[in-house]
Symmetry: C2
Subunit: 299 residues, 2 copies
């Protein structure tokens, strides 16, 4: 089934204990696509500036991503400069230049409106809702969010959440949103928002999947080679959504298997800088890690 | 097979968001015993002062714990006063009075020396080694430790670790001991210490089990009712060791199943104050949670 992602396309500068990448391709929609395209074709909606290198556009095309929804506007592309230290659980933002992404007003190409699986990458909740206004009867809508929107646009965020099926957020955001310190409680509280599921991303601690009937959890893949966590969450979502769109399923068991694919994919993402190195990973390699992840937590 | 625990027997005062318990029975050896006794008889070595209430001694006897190694010395029993806040991941110690435990010099009764499974609860590494000097060919020796010994008695700690089979510690201690921020790396580094296994306790994030061949991990049981985390780690170890001693096994697959029992037991421990409420839990209830835990992470 068709898969749509709406989110940022960026030029990132990232520093980690493993090295530095300067002005490389980044953005949530890009990492999502690099992970998802192995499962199913991806439709991308985003905005870049006139400085966006042709090679990055070619890279997206090489993954068979439909970029007819990637518009170019006068000005510069969204730029983010971040640094990771220690356990690299959270990035310290050194500089953000929203540039053309600051006025992002997503307009879906006519033939994107029937998309079955829709991923709203982290962004202004009001903008995420503009996408929901344009899709016609999707099978599954999934949105990511962040602490900034919980703190500054809570009403819009609540309204957006009431219109989607699945919310993705990290563990501290889940605590902040629900007011519960304990993740087991936060997971249950997410279900009071009438969601089909809540996905709590926990970095090296794996993920918790809240569904109306039960709470599930998976450890992370015990990857020792972590060079750059940038895009881990978006590639997790990309593999998860790619798997679900390919299978055309949204039941809890499928969500768990999809999340395992997400964890496996993210374990590759963190092994290098930028999205290119995951675009080339054969699906068999990801499936191998899914099997290994099963062995990690089988008893 | 026989199971020995050497550790603290204490009088605890604990404050949590759920309430306060004043001068109640506590201590690592007590929580360990309350969890382990459902699996196999426990031999306990510890020290208390003359103020130790007879009812607590009766409680231990009621669990069929052999307390012939629990000696009474002039002075007061070890007292600990702690407070948990927020997610209750770590206790803030308000006051510690080691009292008679400060001079704890464990002397094993003659008929304890042949113990097959030995648990050295957290304590001075030199004292833990005195126990190792007295046991004759145990099948499995497991020790817990803490940041204090990593910081202050590192040489003794290293010597102690070189003499045991399995080391238990929490995630920050694992990072501190190995100098690795990433738990996946810390787990591998633990294996350089020539251990049979390393157990990294992660509270609401479950546990990681490092073995020479592979790293395993389990999420925690998604328990929403958390009143008091005191003793969670020791009751985890108690159920784990009780299971292993009952089965007489030490292979990685058995360690994982034993760890699942530990997680299930600990999820009961945190539900109330003090060790009494877990002593009465039928083993079938624990086994039910082991099955539920399997459902939590199956995909």
């Amino acid at each position: 089934m068709s898969l749509l992602v709406v989110g940022s396309v960026a030029l990132d500068t990232v520093e980690t204990p493993a090295g530095k990448a300067e002005t490389v391709l980044g953005g949530s929609a890009v990492y999502f696509s690099a992970a998802a395209h192995r499962y199913t074709p991806v439709r991308l909606v985003g905005v870049v500036g006139e400085d966006f290198p042709a090679e990055h556009r070619d890279f997206l095309k090489s993954m068979d991503v439909d970029i007819s929804g990637l518009i170019t506007q006068p000005g510069e592309t969204f730029r983010w400069h971040g640094r990771y230290e220690g356990a690299m659980n959270e990035a310290e933002t050194i500089r953000t230049d929203l540039n053309v992404f600051g006025d992002f007003d997503p307009a879906l190409p006519e033939d994107f409106r029937d998309s079955d699986f829709v991923f709203l990458a982290n962004g202004v909740p009001a903008v995420q809702m503009k996408v929901l206004d344009q899709v016609t009867g999707p099978t599954l809508t999934v949105a990511d969010t962040m602490n900034l929107w919980i703190e500054t646009t809570r009403e819009d965020l609540d309204r957006m959440i009431s219109r989607i099926d699945v919310l993705c957020l990290n563990e501290n955001e889940a605590r902040m949103l629900t007011g519960e310190h304990l993740l087991a409680r936060a997971a249950r509280r997410l279900m009071e928002l009438k969601l089909k599921a809540g996905v709590i991303k926990k970095g090296e601690h794996g993920m918790t999947l809240a569904t109306p009937g039960a709470t599930f959890a998976l450890p992370s893949f015990p990857e020792e080679n972590v060079s750059d966590p940038t895009g881990a969450g978006d590639s997790f979502a990309g593999a998860m959504m790619g798997f679900l769109a390919r299978e055309g399923r949204t039941d809890p068991a499928s969500l768990m298997l999809a999340a395992a694919h997400g964890i496996a994919m993210a374990s590759f993402t963190v092994g290098g800088f930028g999205p290119q190195h995951i675009a080339d990973i054969p699906l068999e390699k990801v499936e191998e890690r899914v099997h290994q992840l099963r062995a990690v937590c089988t008893f």
